[in-house]
Symmetry: C2
Subunit: 321 residues, 2 copies
């Protein structure tokens, strides 16, 4: 059954659960009209997911809908922002009612949990791709930036690392816990908001801890030491690991460089570290101290016995072959 | 030569001409941070262009960059908004320095003419597609909406109709004037701003006059009569027409239903029509009165001799085969 662009928009994307007062005109005109409160700064990000590049062929539609929004919410989380609105550009090989309904369910379930309203977008015909732009608010001057880390600051991450990347490398066989981390990443918005005024810098981990931590260092030419045995790993990761180890990988390769974690990596001056540990300790994701910002450039991976660990790869780069 | 995502962003998209005071943090963090003036409402739209669907294979990169932004600016124009920022998601089969440089030139030439700053986006690997989100401002309550037309209002369009659609149908042979209208559409932002407080409804013509005029009518179940011999046609259109007429098309088919015009279609209460004609007459695009809003549903195409014209098609729909 063929449907027109207009039908698609009406059927699946206008019956949404969340209606916000700051949306004066939503879907249905040439553009949305919005009212930003005068005491708030607007935070805006955009991410695209392509089938076969950012998610495997055959990923359930609900997971695609969830993840396309989640990766953007993860960027808002890394800014300490509170989500408000989203726009969605959906490119589809052919309109498929079941797929669209599931996609919309995954998208709106996450959106409404965070009080977001879909305010516009576009549907086009082509290879499956999803672009989402997310908008959020921060109080003036309180956005968390990448560039604020100083030597002596402690380095933390939320949640656990490597689960999603390991699920991707064990296709069809990954445990449900790992698979859920790949398909339904949970943006750490509560953590980001609690970190306002406490963290000196923050980023979300999409390309892998080493690659993303490097973004916190590069502006000022700083370095870091990581205690890699302190990296937070889930029970599901440790249980599934032996099957992947047969491929010759080392234990810390995936948590350091696998990517797709959508956890926050952030730095905290010593004077705020007890407060951060207390505040984030109250969240289900928690946080773990994994290292220290240093003057000397480069990232050093240290072992408890005083030795050092040499990572095999440093992160996912879209165009590196 | 392969380049990383980061290199692409840095080389081509951070050397932009326009820097705005309302951009607190632009490209380079997890998200942009922006300050909307308290006395302005924010207007937001998003459009995606796919190679082979929205522009022909082999379209010059500068034209792709221009058009991806222009179709969004055309939506802002239809709201009466003044442009402020853009985000860009660019999906490329492979990074090509020359293509990227030309794309960026086309994009930024248009952006800077309208005082817009690129504040973020994403580059991904896949079939060529470009998604742009444009942001703009309107004074409170002054956005032009689709739903405000009333019986008795006059219907106007800016510029001329059918040029781009005729260029598309004469591939390789279109005159430079027609081709320019297809590849470098000029968003009617000045017209939109002048229409604030004067027009009762407005939309931009992307899918064809009949399809887009229908959006102005559908909310309230109104109708319209069009004097089709009054439709503004360019000299280039009339000169090229005989070559296309051989395919059996009728003269008004393309101006009525071809699409890709990116002119504004708007309605004006009788008491404002002299003022609108005076104001828009001062712009290079001008405006032409083409019909009347009526109570009776449906669009009637009238001829001067009292007869009526039956359109062959009513507009472009992405999924209609």
């Amino acid at each position: 059954m063929l449907e027109t662009e207009f039908d698609i928009i009406h059927h699946y994307f206008t019956r949404q659960p969340c209606r916000r007062d700051d949306v004066l005109t939503g879907i249905g005109d040439d553009a949305a009209v919005l009212k930003v409160p005068p005491e708030r700064e607007l935070v805006v990000c955009m991410d695209t997911l392509i089938e076969g590049v950012h998610f495997p062929m055959g990923t359930p539609a609900a997971a695609v809908g969830h993840k396309a929004l989640a990766v953007n919410l993860s960027d808002l989380a890394a800014m300490g922002a509170e989500p408000s609105w989203a726009t969605l550009s959906l490119t589809l090989p052919e309109p498929d009612s079941t797929w669209l309904e599931d996609f919309a369910k995954g998208f709106f379930a996450l959106a409404s949990r965070h009080g977001m309203q879909l305010i516009g977008g576009d549907t086009t015909h082509g290879p499956l791709a999803v672009t989402v732009q997310a908008h959020g608010y921060v109080p003036p001057g309180q956005a968390l930036m990448r560039a604020g880390a100083k030597p002596g600051d402690r380095i933390y991450v939320t949640g656990t690392l490597g689960d999603a990347a390991l699920a991707l490398r064990l296709p069809g066989n990954a445990q449900a816990d790992l698979r859920r981390r790949l398909e339904y990443p949970e943006p750490r918005l509560d953590a980001g908001i609690l970190l306002r005024g406490l963290a000196s810098a923050a980023i979300d981990i999409s390309d892998g801890l080493l690659a993303d931590l490097d973004h916190l260092l590069e502006t000022k030419g700083l370095g870091a030491s990581l205690k890699i045995e302190e990296l937070p790993l889930s029970a599901a990761f440790s249980a599934a690991w032996p099957r992947f180890a047969k491929q010759g990988a080392t234990y810390y390769e995936i948590p350091l460089s696998g990517g797709d974690d959508y956890e926050l990596c952030f730095t905290v001056p010593e004077r705020h570290s007890a407060e951060v540990e207390r505040q984030l300790g109250s969240l289900s994701c928690g946080c773990t101290r994994i290292g220290l910002i240093e003057e000397r450039p480069g990232i050093r991976c240290l072992l408890r016995d005083g030795g050092s660990y040499q990572p095999a790869a440093t992160g996912y780069r879209h165009f590196d072959g």
